[in-house]
């Protein structure tokens, strides 16, 4: 059957987070189980188009990070970027806050969603235990 594009949500309409559950939302392949954030129409690993929407865990490991000292429009320097692999296996790049000066990776982190739909960044990660020490 010829596709029209209406079969699934377009990339701009596809949800990236679920505020009520406080987690990121993407896709997972029904064939091979590989997840993706943001969600994709086809699985990048096995090529199957049999993918479903999936909510991801909020905890993961910070695999690497860098503190950037060059200001960008709308972004005051310094800010910290990192690569996080969530417990479900999803890997993504995001802002990281609250890292100690001498932090080393890998480091357990968790997701924090910003208040309000227009906030930037919409979410970031913080080290587990931050603010409790």
């Amino acid at each position: 059957m010829e596709l029209t594009g209406a079969e699934i949500l377009g990339t701009l309409q596809r949800p990236r987070m679920d505020r009520e559950r406080g987690c990121l939302v993407g896709s997972r392949c029904r064939e091979c189980g590989i997840p993706s954030w943001p969600g994709r129409a086809y699985c990048f690993s096995c090529g199957s188009s049999d993918v479903e929407e999936a909510a991801f865990s909020t905890g993961g490991l910070l695999g690497t990070f860098t503190t950037v000292w060059v200001e960008r429009p709308g972004l005051e320097a310094p800010y910290t970027l990192g690569q996080v692999t969530l417990a479900d296996g999803v890997s993504l790049y995001a802002h990281v806050r609250g890292l100690a000066e001498d932090a080393r990776v890998p480091l357990p982190v968790h997701l924090v969603l910003a208040d309000g739909d227009d906030a930037f960044p919409a979410f970031w990660f913080e080290p587990d235990g931050a603010g409790e020490q």
Partner: protein, 391 residues
């Protein structure tokens, strides 16, 4: 093995800051130098592959960039195809020219790369660079290439596979080589103290470790073996390979450059141990260390040791980035891949002057571009061969 495609001539416009030079001016100089090198005229060119990454955003020349840039030098009528693959645009144009000749469509083709990044507004230049990613995903995140390389390096530093001093030492090497290259943007050596104390960019990278905003152009003329009566030593294109970025499921999977290099080695019937001189994509000087591993020049975790051994110095067993690389020669994005080829052709012919790396026979260029999920979005590896014996 005799390659079907040869490089008949190469040429560059010096890399650097040229406020009075237009894209057309930069292009004209590089192409004229390549034609002169090959002993050819403009009308001998049968096809053109023109590489540029940011002329749309920075000069407003979104479409027909090659046709516009080449008018001043009288290159018209022949097919001109515009090639954009971020920082890998130049090598992508080269590969298309090679394929056109191999396909039997063309005998003499020009691959030219040109870029003008100085536009009087750093934020515009950086904004254009940030589009070398999937903007629907990373928009406004503030991920520059400096941050991408910084994150790749920290992984190895924290795993104990690299020491901070290696980052500094490879930067000193880059600038030392650049100081020998009349085409380089930066031609002054630097000290460890200068590297350490220069402005922080993206930890652990400092300003002197990073390539800068840059203008420039580079060109190569490719010809089917036997169609030209060339006065130069023949340089054959032994292999080209191209790969696009992919989403890695784990860090254990090979990098884009590794996948691409393995394909190129297989096609050439060669291995990393056969390479005598290499130009690798060190957009940040310490990136060279990552590519030692990814291209197979050392075992995983052996990059620091390889650097310390001196093997990658000019005069070492495998000279890496004798030109100064992207960090010191400069990185005008669309021109870089062809500047690597120009340097390697000069090296293979023994024409590299004070930076001549012995008597190389096999040379490798690795040019990567863009960024997707932590990996390069595009990568090309080219292996060149000097066919004449050194006497």
């Amino acid at each position: 093995m005799t390659a079907e495609v040869t490089i008949a001539g190469v040429g560059m416009h010096r890399f650097g800051r040229f406020p009075d030079a237009s894209l057309k001016d930069l292009t004209r100089v590089a192409v004229a130098n390549a034609l002169d090198d090959a002993g050819l005229g403009v009308k001998d060119i049968e096809a053109v592959y023109a590489a540029n990454a940011m002329g749309g955003l920075l000069q407003g020349q979104e479409q027909i960039r090659g046709q516009a840039a080449l008018r001043d030098i009288g290159l018209e009528r022949v097919p001109i195809v515009n090639v954009e693959n971020a920082c890998a645009s130049g090598s992508s144009a080269l590969r298309e020219a090679v394929l056109a000749i191999k396909a039997g469509e063309t005998d003499v083709a020009l691959a030219v790369g040109f870029e003008k990044m100085f536009v009087g507004d750093r934020d515009r230049s950086l904004g254009a660079l940030e589009t070398a990613a999937d903007v629907e995903i990373v928009r406004e995140l503030g991920i520059q290439f400096t941050a991408v390389y910084a994150m790749r390096l920290r992984k190895l530093l924290d795993a104990g596979k690299l020491e901070h001093r290696h980052l500094v030492d490879v930067t000193i090497k880059s600038h030392r080589n650049g100081a020998l290259n009349p085409y380089a943007q930066f031609q002054d050596g630097v000290t460890a103290e200068q590297v350490e104390s220069s402005t922080r960019i993206a930890d652990p990278l400092t300003l002197l470790m990073c390539s800068a905003i840059c203008d420039g152009a580079a060109a190569a003329i490719l010809a089917r073996r036997g169609v030209l009566d060339t006065r130069k030593d023949t340089i054959g294109v032994r292999a080209t390979a191209a790969t696009s970025g992919f989403t890695r499921i784990s860090d254990d999977e090979p990098a884009t450059a590794t996948v691409c290099a393995e394909k190129a080695y297989e096609r050439a019937g060669l291995g990393p141990e056969d390479i005598d001189v290499a130009e690798v994509h060190d957009a940040m000087a310490p990136g060279e260390l990552l590519y030692y591993e990814q291209l197979g020049f050392c075992e995983p975790g052996g990059a620091g040791e390889l650097l310390e051994s001196g093997a990658t110095e000019i005069g070492g067993k495998i000279a890496v980035n004798p030109s100064g690389g992207l960090c010191s020669r400069g990185h005008p994005v669309g021109a870089t891949g062809l500047a690597q080829i120009a340097e390697l052709v000069w090296q293979l012919r023994g024409e590299a002057g004070p930076r001549q790396a012995g008597r190389p026979r096999i040379a490798l260029a690795q040019n990567s571009g863009g960024w997707l999920s932590g990996e390069s979005a595009a990568c090309n590896v080219t292996i060149l061969e000097r066919e004449a014996a050194w006497n």
